[in-house]
Amino acid sequence: MKKRIEDLTVTENRRLTDSFFVLKVTSSLTLPEILPGQFVQVLVADSPSTFLRRPLSVHDVNVTENTVSFLIQVAGKGTERLSRLTQGEKLNMIYPLGNSFTLPHKGEKVLLTGGGCGMAPLLYLGRMTKEAGAEVNFAFGFRNRLRIPEHKEFKKLGIVHLATEDGSEGCKGLLTDIPALREEKWDRVYSCGPELMMKAVAAECLRREIFCEVSLENLMACGIGACLCCVVSTISGNMCTCTDGPVFNVRNLKWQISG
C-alpha cells in the first residue's frame, strides 16, 4: 500500500470530555484504503517543543464522506495543540502506516477491549468486524465515569461493557474484572491501551487459548521503519512497531506473562 504525505483539511473538532476530542479530516483526493489498526503520523504546526510527528491511530473512516477521524486524549503539548485545530485548518499527515488487525470470520464472537484512549482504533475495527459478519462486543476500562468519552457509535455496533476503578459506572475495578471477559466464550479478543491492561488481557487469552491481537503504542520517530526506535521484543527478534506492527499477535511478543 503506497504511503502518502499530504495536507488534509479539518472538517470537525469535537470535544467529548475534559481531555478527549474527536478530530475529523478530509482529503482533496480520494482517501486510500485504510485498514483497522493502521495509524498516521501528523505534524503539529506552530509547536516548537514538539519536534517529531505524532502517531495517531485511525478511529474511524467514512468512505462516503471521504473523511478519517481520530479519537485523541490530550497528553502533552502536541495533543494540546491538535485539540485547538479548527474547521478548515490543514493537518499534514503521512499515512496510512503500519499493519492491521486480522479481521474475524463470519459468525465468530469477538471482544474488543480498550483502556483510556486505547479505545480509539476499536471503533473502526468494530465496524469492519460487523461488516465481516462477526458479533461485536466491547469492554472498556476507565478511572472514573468522568473520564468516559461519549461512545454511542460503539453502542450501534454491539454491546459495550464498562469498568471503572471507583465503580462510578459499570463494573467496579479494572477492565479485566468485567465478568464477560472471563465467563463468555470468545473466538477472538483484540486489545489496545496501557501495557499492563493489554498484558492482563493477553494472559487471560493465552490461558484460555483464545486468539488475541494487541495494538502497541511504542514511542516512535519516523513511523516508516527507518529509525528503528520503536522496537518491541518478539520471538523473531526486535521488530518495528511502526512497520511490523502496531498490531501483534500476543503469541509473538516476548511479554513476561503467565499464560
Binding site: 519536534f51 510527528r53 520517530a221 519516523c222 513511523g223 527507518a226 526506535c229 521484543s233 526486535n238
Partner: protein, 304 residues
C-alpha cells in the same frame, strides 16, 4: 544551470546532498516519497560483522528541537546484508555507501574487505563515532591512537573511496580530521550525534534504557557547523557536513563553512522529502546568485 556535481576521491556525486546513515534505512523505506536516484548518495544503516539486536526499548526521547536515540546499531550483519539487501541496493542509480562498525580493528578491516568486492558499493563510511555501543564505535573516534590504527588498517585493505565519520564528543575535532587525512581517508563526515540524556521526572527514571544516547536534530546544528568549519580549515581532503540540517539554508551554511557536501539525517523522520527539497533549494540559491557551480561557494567564508 548551476553545476551541482562534487567529487570525493575519484568518486563523482551528481549533487552534494546525501541521506545520513541510520536515518534512511536501506533507501526503500522512502520509495513512496522520493526518488532515491535524485540524491547524491545514501549512506545505509550501520552494518556490523555479526547481527546485532541493538539496545532495549526505550531507545528514543524527543528533546527541544531534536531527539536522543540509543538504537545501538541494530542490523542483521554483513552476511545478511550481502545476500538479502545488496541485490536491491545495487539497482539504485546513485552512490550507495555502507556505514561500517566494528568492536575491534580487525572487525573493521574484515568488513571493509568484504565490501570491497561489492561492485555497486563505491565507498564506505567508517563509523568511529557511534555513542550507543559498549565496544568499538566512539571509543575509536575519541582516542587519537585508536583512530589512527583503525583508519590505517581499513585503508590497507580498502582501495575504493573511504570516508571517516567523526565524533563531536572530542575536545579538538581538527586533530581527528588531520589523523583521518594522514592515514589516507578520502573524506571526513561530521558530526555524529552528541552524547546526551533526558530524565522523566514523573517516573524519576532516565528516558532511555541506556541512560545516555545520541542527540540529533536542529539543536546540534550550531555545534556541527562550528566543527565542520574547524575540520575544513585543518585538512585539504573534502569534509561532509552533518548535523541538524532541516532545509537548503541549513545545508548552504555548512557548504559556506567549508563542506563539499552534506548529509540530511533526523529531518527525514519528520519530512521524508527533506533531502530532495535541499537539492532544489541549493540549486535555486546558486542560480539566483549567478553561481556556475556549488564549488564557488564551498568554504566561501574562509576566503580572502
Amino acid at each position: 544551470m548551476a553545476d551541482l556535481r562534487i567529487k570525493i576521491g575519484s568518486l563523482l556525486f551528481k549533487n552534494p546532498v546525501m541521506m545520513a546513515s541510520g536515518t534512511c534505512g536501506y533507501g526503500s523505506e522512502f520509495d513512496d516519497f522520493i526518488d532515491i536516484e535524485q540524491l547524491g548518495g545514501i549512506i545505509v544503516k550501520g552494518t556490523t560483522l555479526e547481527p546485532r539486536e541493538g539496545n532495549p526499548y526505550p531507545r528514543m526521547a524527543e528533546t527541544a528541537s531534536g531527539m536522543l536515540n540509543a538504537v545501538g546499531l541494530q542490523n542483521k550483519g554483513i552476511d545478511y546484508f550481502v545476500k538479502n539487501i545488496y541485490p536491491h541496493l545495487s539497482q539504485y542509480g546513485t552512490n550507495v555507501i555502507v556505514n561500517i562498525n566494528g568492536n575491534t580493528v580487525e572487525e573493521y578491516a574484515e568488513l571493509a574487505g568484504r565490501l570491497t568486492d561489492l561492485t555497486a558499493i563505491p565507498a564506505i563510511e567508517l563509523n568511529i563515532s557511534c555513542p550507543n555501543v559498549k565496544r568499538g564505535g566512539m571509543i575509536f573516534g575519541t582516542n587519537p591512537d585508536a583512530a589512527r590504527e583503525v583508519i590505517a588498517s581499513v585503508r590497507k585493505v580498502y582501495h575504493k573511496t573511504l570516508i571517516v565519520k567523526l565524533s563531536p564528543n572530542v575536545t579538538d575535532i581538527s586533530e581527528f580530521a588531520r589523523i583521518s587525512a594522514g592515514e589516507g581517508a578520502d573524506a571526513v563526515s561530521l558530526i555524529n550525534t552528541l552524547v546526551g540524556m533526558a530524565i522523566d521526572t514523573k517516573t524519576m527514571k532516565p528516558r532511555l534504557s541506556t541512560i545516555t544516547g545520541g542527540l540529533s536534530g536542529p539543536a546540534i546544528k550550531p555545534v556541527a557547523l562550528r566543527m565542520v568549519w574547524q575540520a575544513a580549515k585543518a585538512v585539504t581532503i573534502p569534509v561532509i557536513g552533518i548535523g541538524g540540517i532541516m532545509n537548503a539554508e541549513d545545508a548552504l551554511e555548512f557548504i559556506m563553512a567549508g563542506a563539499i557536501g552534506v548529509q540530511v539525517g533526523t529531518a527525514s523522520f519528520i519530512e521524508p522529502r527533506t533531502a530532495i527539497n535541499v537539492i532544489s533549494g541549493i540549486k535555486s540559491f546558486l542560480e539566483a546568485g549567478g553561481f556556475a557551480s556549488v564549488s564557488e561557494i564551498t568554504g566561501i567564508i574562509n576566503r580572502n
